[in-house]
């Protein structure tokens, strides 16, 4: 017992010094007989115990901002608006790095046993930047605004399923058209920032209840913030000021980090990661997430309406090589369904699909394809390295006797003229917090973004049934069966899951790997502090 104590103390010390990730910590302490829940809590305490320092200005240099950006959270789509909104905004709830729900404006969440009615108790006394406090009415007005098609909200698909919204005192009640056990995860969507009056009058005002208030908003150039003095949660929001600089050029962004002009950068080019590892004062954080790169086939168009041909192509791609060459080793091979270990209820029973020229040739022969070229469309902007990846795919497929041909398309108009239009092309997905949302967005028969035109009655039935299933084991089994169907019959070729690769200065404390999104799911500037 004594010995165990010593080991536990040592591991807590390691965690305090930031030398151990949550996963390692939990794994090693549970080996000592500590329960996983307790281990996770211990780690949180240890990480906090790194003694957050207050004050200073944290500067971020980021790719993914344009002068066309707006502060309206409904239309946020790229990285900078995401990070910016996470700085001034606050949602009902957020998702913790370990996949549990982090209560923010909601203080308590409960559901009816059939998961069709949800109650959110609103935290009292949460102040907006301009004064006034968050009310249940604001929450309902915010959700209502996102249901209006004119708001062009990226969360429209999420709020559409809510048939009734009611505010009573400090309680918000949402009734759904169908059961959904994942509703809290959906409410953690980054578009759903609670705004005064729902943001109806001026959606792009940038006024919310988040830890910082907007000072300068120059889209495509910089965004600056100052600490919201009356922020309700004293455990985060350490710096006095935050500055987000838009530096879209890779080299300039890296140089800015090296020279100390900024403290954190996103999107480190995998090609230079090895070089940066040797630079003093800079740490590379490669975090496994849910984002993935894909080649998508329309299963309703020839020749991809033939499952044998689809299987031939799935066996004709060399996933390991792609992770090495396209991601510089910073990622994991995919298995032709869009879910990985970063999702709750992930089933790891599936064998990794490998490159197998013999099997590919066999399926190809079975498909009876006439031998005409199979055209794969790609563009530099489809995902980083998409052109190289397509060429690698063509080379390995040709070696198996499949006449795969790459057609290079311009970036300009790729998402309107090629993606979702042409039967076979390269694309990417950023992932979603839960399996239901990912499948609902792109694989349900009726989904707007069903970019493989996949229609499978059994799959749809399982997806809808799983929403109302509160028994986790049963639910996991359903998701597992869906993964199996998609993997063996779908139009999706998923060669790799890409890591989020960020560069962080040594002067930053409090970094935690977060699979939910880049730069600690958009909250790095809020949760980290300056040691210098």
């Amino acid at each position: 017992m004594n010995d165990k104590h010593k080991q536990l103390d040592w591991m807590v010390a390691q965690a305090k010094a930031g030398r151990m990730t949550r996963r390692e910590f939990v794994g090693r302490t549970t080996a000592l007989g500590v329960s996983a829940g307790l281990a996770s809590a211990l780690f949180g305490k240890a990480a906090l115990a790194q003694e957050a320092k207050k004050g200073g200005v944290i500067r971020l240099g980021m790719q993914g901002g344009e002068s066309t950006n707006s502060l309206d959270p409904a239309v946020a789509a790229s990285e900078v608006p995401y990070q910016v909104n996470m700085t001034w905004g606050e949602m009902l709830c957020d998702v913790n790095p370990d996949g549990t729900i982090d209560l923010r404006i909601a203080e308590e969440i409960s559901s009816s046993p059939d998961a069709t009615e949800w109650k959110f108790k609103i935290r009292q006394g949460v102040e907006y930047h301009g004064g006034g406090t968050v009310t249940a009415e604001d929450v309902v007005a915010t959700l209502k605004r996102h249901t209006d098609e004119k708001a062009q909200s990226g969360a429209l698909g999420i709020v559409q399923g809510i048939t009734e919204m009611k505010a009573e005192g400090d309680m918000v009640t949402l009734k759904l058209n169908a059961a959904n056990a994942d509703l809290p995860y959906l409410m953690a969507d980054y578009h759903l920032m609670i705004q005064p009056g729902g943001g109806v009058d001026n959606p792009a005002a940038g006024i919310g209840a988040g830890p910082y208030s907007v000072v300068v908003n120059e889209p495509g150039v910089r965004h600056t913030f100052k600490k919201h003095a009356n922020y309700f949660d004293s455990t985060i929001g350490h710096a006095d000021e935050i500055e987000i600089l838009v530096i879209n050029d890779n080299t300039a962004r890296t140089a800015a980090l090296q020279s100390g002009q900024v403290h954190m950068i996103n999107r480190v080019d995998p090609k230079i990661v090895d070089l940066l590892k040797g630079v003093a004062g800079v740490q590379i954080k490669a975090v496994a997430g849910r984002g993935h790169y894909v080649f998508i086939m329309h299963v309703d168009k020839a020749p991809f309406d033939n499952n044998d041909l689809r299987m031939a192509l799935k066996y004709a791609i060399n996933r390991g090589e792609m992770v090495e060459k396209i991601l510089g080793g910073l990622g994991k091979p995919g298995n032709d369904f869009p879910i990985n270990a970063a999702y709750p209820l992930f089933d790891d029973k599936f064998e990794q699909r490998e490159y197998d020229a013999a099997k590919a040739a066999e399926y190809y022969k079975k498909s009876g394809h006439d031998g005409s070229p199979i055209v794969l469309r790609t563009a530099p902007g489809a995902f980083p390295g998409a052109v190289d990846a397509a060429n690698l795919f063509a080379a390995s497929a040709n070696a198996a006797g499949i006449p795969l041909q790459v057609k290079l398309e311009p970036d300009d108009g790729y998402w309107s003229n090629v993606w979702n239009v042409e039967p076979f092309c390269a694309s990417y997905w950023g992932g979603r917090p839960v399996q239901d949302q990912m499948y609902t967005t792109a694989y349900l028969s009726t989904a707007d973004w069903n970019d493989t035109k996949f229609k499978n009655a059994r799959f749809d039935e399982l997806l809808l049934a799983a929403r109302g299933e509160l028994d986790e084991a049963k639910r996991k089994g359903m998701y597992s069966e869906m993964a199996q169907i998609l993997r063996d019959e779908g139009g999706l070729i998923l060669p790799m899951f890409n890591d989020f690769v960020s560069g962080v200065s040594d002067t930053i404390g409090g970094w935690v790997d977060d699979p939910n999104g880049e730069l600690m799911n958009g909250r790095a500037q809020v949760r980290c502090w300056l040691n210098a």
């Binding site: 002068s67 879209n248 800015a256 020279s259 309107s416 707007d448």
Partner: protein, 318 residues
């Protein structure tokens, strides 16, 4: 009326006419792009309903001719409209960025123009000898280097090896003049390297051309020193070609530096234009395009007028 005045007025009128023609061309060019604003904004998220909603909201359903005249009328009354993508007032956004563009161009010009002319004069004075070869060699090397290579080179040299400047050159209102100068140092260096050679070579060639004339021989025979001859007799007669090249380079410094802006994250018009082109934000693209065209036309007009004024035959017609 003085004939010079008539000439100048003619040039100005011609310039305005040209600008009107350019506005039509810009509008047509933007119309001809594939896809429309709604599609470009929605990108991967475009569903037929969302597209229809957005088109209606943005007035993209109206015929092109109507939209052209609405736009032209707006410009004449100083109203450039609002950006389709984020609803920001275009005149306001452009105002600050145009200021930054002119600041960067101005800083580069203040160094590059005198330097190029002096180097050109020296090269002409020692034509064919080592100072000429050295100057030509160096400036031709720097102009041959693509801008982004030069930019990465100075970033490496002056922020990593000798850390005296910062790689990201953004300037903001409220920064002191010296802080702004410090911020733009690297892009200014790159731009000077890029524009130097063209102006230097033109000065040299124009001077050498004049040096063939009989009156230069006379000056030599009078016993004047070579530098005096160049400065007093050759240079005034070489002004017209030099000015036109200088103006072309100034125009380039204003409208053509988008690569340098991107590399240094400099918040000026070029980057603003590119962002809005990729999003098919027609009002912004047209407004910036028109401003760029106006700069070109104005500077070329200025070169013409200076050329006229520097020519005694035009100044004192018989």
């Amino acid at each position: 009326m003085h004939p010079i005045l008539i000439l100048v007025v003619q040039r100005v009128a011609l310039g305005l006419l040209l600008l009107l023609a350019v506005s039509a061309v810009i509008f047509l060019g933007v119309e001809a792009l594939p896809g429309d604003t709604a599609q470009a904004i929605l990108g991967q998220q475009a569903t037929p309903e969302a597209l229809a909603n957005m088109r209606e909201k943005m007035g993209l359903n109206q015929p092109p001719l109507t939209r052209y005249f609405q736009w032209l009328g707006g410009i004449l009354t100083g109203d450039l409209g609002t950006a389709l993508t984020n609803g920001a007032d275009i005149a306001q956004s452009i105002g600050q960025r145009l200021g930054n563009t002119l600041f960067l161009a101005g800083c580069a010009a203040v160094i590059a123009v005198p330097l190029a002319i002096i180097l050109g004069l020296v090269a002409a004075r020692y034509a064919g000898r080592w100072p000429d070869k050295l100057i030509s060699g160096i400036t031709l090397t720097t102009i041959s280097l693509p801008e982004f290579v030069a930019a990465y080179f100075v970033i490496y040299l002056l922020t990593q090896l000798i850390p005296v400047f910062q790689p990201v050159a953004m300037v903001f209102p409220g920064m002191s003049f010296w802080a702004k100068l410090h911020a733009v140092a690297l892009p200014v260096i790159v731009l000077v390297l890029v524009v130097l050679a063209h102006m230097m070579r033109m000065t040299r060639a124009a001077i050498l051309n004049v040096m063939q004339s009989a009156y230069v021989e006379t000056a030599e025979l009078k016993g004047l020193s070579p530098m005096t001859i160049i400065w007093k007799h050759a240079f005034p007669n070489a002004i017209a070609p030099v000015v036109s090249v200088v103006m072309l380079n100034l125009a380039y410094l204003v409208v053509g530096v988008v690569v340098v802006e991107v590399v240094f994250g400099y918040n000026a018009l070029g980057q603003y234009l590119v962002d809005h082109v990729t999003k098919r934000d027609l009002p912004v693209v047209q407004a910036v395009g028109l401003i760029f065209a106006a700069v070109y036309i104005f500077l070329n007009m200025l070169a013409d007028i200076i050329g006229i004024l520097s020519n005694p035959r035009l100044r004192h017609p018989k």
